[in-house]
């Protein structure tokens, strides 16, 4: 029986510069930030990052690790309209885009789902109406149109498979074989990221016995299939500063430092020091 436990550094050791890496979570929610931190501290570079973007992509941009961003949005998303601490725009990604430091591969957020699904199912594309009429066809040359072979003859967009060299996700609980459960409101697309990847790594708040995986959740929350998991990393607090409900909410103090860190090298160093101390 495989014991897949490893350290964040061992995960990074399995990655290579130039790889395409999918990062799970959504915006400011349940991002595998301890693994992102290990990438920041490594020699890896020229990564293509596929993400429903939040601080993961922002930090990797400022750290100079990103060659290409594959995304639909980058935002410090939080629930509700009432959170005044939640500016809509993301300074790190913004800086990288505006300076031309990274290549840009934009999609609609549902297209990212289709691209991951296509990769997971080993087909070259999935058809969709999404993107027709918008400037996505102008701004993303990977997108092509396809004509339905059936009587309707509809013109649709072929969303290419987003094949990942590796996927990184963070879950509330996992066993040492890589089965994992989320306890928060949404699985996001973490299981699909793993299915779309050659190798997958799960960081988790706590490694538990297999028999304990369903102690805190119903069976349908047991969403991560160990056959798609190469390594499991126990990283308590490993999503910070993003949230990992119900274990913890977003770390607003650290998140504020992260947002401010786009403004100067000093603020960036201050954020890194605070993040490393976590």
């Amino acid at each position: 029986m495989a014991d897949k436990r490893m350290t964040p550094q061992e995960v990074v050791g399995r990655l290579e510069s130039g790889m395409t890496i999918g990062i799970g979570g959504w915006g400011s929610r349940r991002k595998p930030m301890a693994l992102v931190k290990a990438i920041v501290q490594s020699d890896l570079r020229d990564l293509t990052v596929v993400t429903f973007g939040g601080p993961d992509l922002g930090i990797l941009c400022t750290a100079g690790k990103v060659k290409r961003a594959v995304y639909a949005f980058v935002a410090p998303d939080v629930a509700g309209a009432t959170n005044k601490n939640s500016p809509v725009l993301e300074g790190h990604f913004r800086k990288a885009r505006q300076s031309g430091a990274i290549e840009d591969e934009p999609y609609d957020e549902g297209m990212v789902l289709l691209g991951l699904q296509a990769a997971a199912w080993r087909v070259p594309f999935l058809p969709t109406r999404v993107g027709l009429g918008s400037d996505l066809l102008r701004d993303n040359p990977r997108l092509k149109t396809v004509t339905s072979p059936f009587d309707d003859g509809e013109e649709l967009i072929a969303m290419p498979a987003l094949e990942l060299d590796a996927a990184l996700v963070h879950m509330n609980r996992a066993d040492e074989r890589g089965n994992a459960v989320y306890l928060g409101p949404d699985p996001y697309f973490d299981d699909l990221m793993l299915a779309a990847a050659k190798v997958g790594f799960v960081s988790t708040e706590r490694i538990v016995d297999t028999a304990e995986l369903l102690k805190e959740a119903p069976p349908q929350a047991l969403r991560i299939n160990r056959a798609f998991v190469t390594g499991v990393v126990e990283t308590p607090g490993g999503a910070a500063p993003t949230s990992c409900e119900p274990d913890y909410e977003r770390d607003e103090d650290l998140h504020a430092k992260y947002m401010a860190a786009a403004k100067s090298d000093e603020a960036w160093d201050e954020f890194l020091a605070a993040w490393e101390a976590k």
């Binding site: 959504w26 973007g53 995304y71 639909a72 949005f73 980058v74 935002a75 629930a79 509700g80 309209a81 009432t82 809509v88 725009l89 990604f93 913004r94 885009r97 505006q98 031309g100 840009d104 934009p106 999609y107 609609d108 957020e109 549902g110 297209m111 789902l113 969709t128 109406r129 999404v130 993107g131 027709l132 009429g133 918008s134 400037d135 996505l136 102008r138 701004d139 309707d152 003859g153 509809e154 013109e155 409101p185 949404d186 699985p187 996001y188 697309f189």
Partner: protein, 255 residues
């Protein structure tokens, strides 16, 4: 509560509610403070079958727009993945923001300036391309200006009527931009060529002021009504139930 007079934010909330009139049993998905208040107002009054989100992974039955101090009444688990079943199946009317929107309802939330190397990177395309060719879309503009309502958007994220008219097959059928609601007026596209027109002006605002604040020529009918005021029951709901802390009043201050 009957002595309360309607604030501009209340008029906006009613205009939002009116945008959902007739939608029936679909997901009303207004994004932003006043849209969330207005959507709730529609459901609490004349569109009781609407569904609404908690901004995360649940559809909830609560009349309150925010915080839900008494707890959420969840009627459906709706993670992001399920949302695409609703959107692509057309059972939704979304009200999005817009950094730019033009006379045919093309919207931009991705980037200002040349897309390849933008002057200002914004959110990204987000869900706008998929929303606009699959379900009904409206826009909420809390600060009406010629920069927002502009002659030409830099990047088309949300598809407008001129572009939808070029699309073949069923895509054009599924496309509807119903309203643009601003702090000054209610606008729609109910013209022969789907150019934006003034549907109503909020109390105290003239059509000339709306045109002045707009970066393209609006269609202005001979007789433009004033936006509907909330009735006593709507005011009670707004002030006592839906948004008792008055968050909407901060989003659109009094003129």
């Amino acid at each position: 509560m009957t002595t309360t007079t309607a604030a501009r934010a209340d008029v906006c909330a009613v205009a939002v509610a009116e945008a959902f009139r007739g939608d029936g049993e679909i997901l009303a998905n207004p994004i932003g403070t006043i849209p969330m208040v207005g959507g709730r107002l529609a459901r609490a009054t004349f569109e009781p079958d609407l569904q609404m989100t908690d901004g995360e992974a649940a559809l909830i039955a609560n009349d309150e727009a925010f915080e839900w101090p008494g707890g959420k009444v969840v009627e459906l688990w709706n993670p992001y993945r399920s949302m695409f079943d609703i959107v692509w199946g057309g059972k939704r009317h979304v009200m999005m923001g817009a950094t730019q929107v033009d006379q045919y309802g093309n919207q931009n939330i991705a980037a200002i300036g040349e897309y390849a190397k933008p002057k200002t990177q914004l959110l990204g395309y987000r869900g706008a391309p998929g929303n606009t060719v699959n379900n009904t879309t409206s826009y909420w503009v809390p600060s009406h200006s010629p920069q927002v309502l502009c002659a030409k958007v830099d990047t088309v994220t949300g598809v407008g009527y001129d572009r939808a008219a070029q699309l073949k097959g069923r895509t054009a059928e599924f496309h509807e931009i119903r309203r643009v609601i601003t702090n000054l007026a209610v606008l729609d596209f109910e013209t022969p060529d789907h150019r934006m027109r003034i549907r109503s002006v909020h109390p105290g605002v003239t059509t000339a002021e709306v045109q002045e604040a707009t970066g393209f020529e609006l269609v202005i009918p001979a007789d433009v009504p004033t936006s509907r005021l909330p009735d006593d029951e709507e005011l009670r709901l707004l002030y006592e139930v839906i948004d008792p802390k008055g968050l909407r009043l901060k989003e659109v201050p009094e003129a």
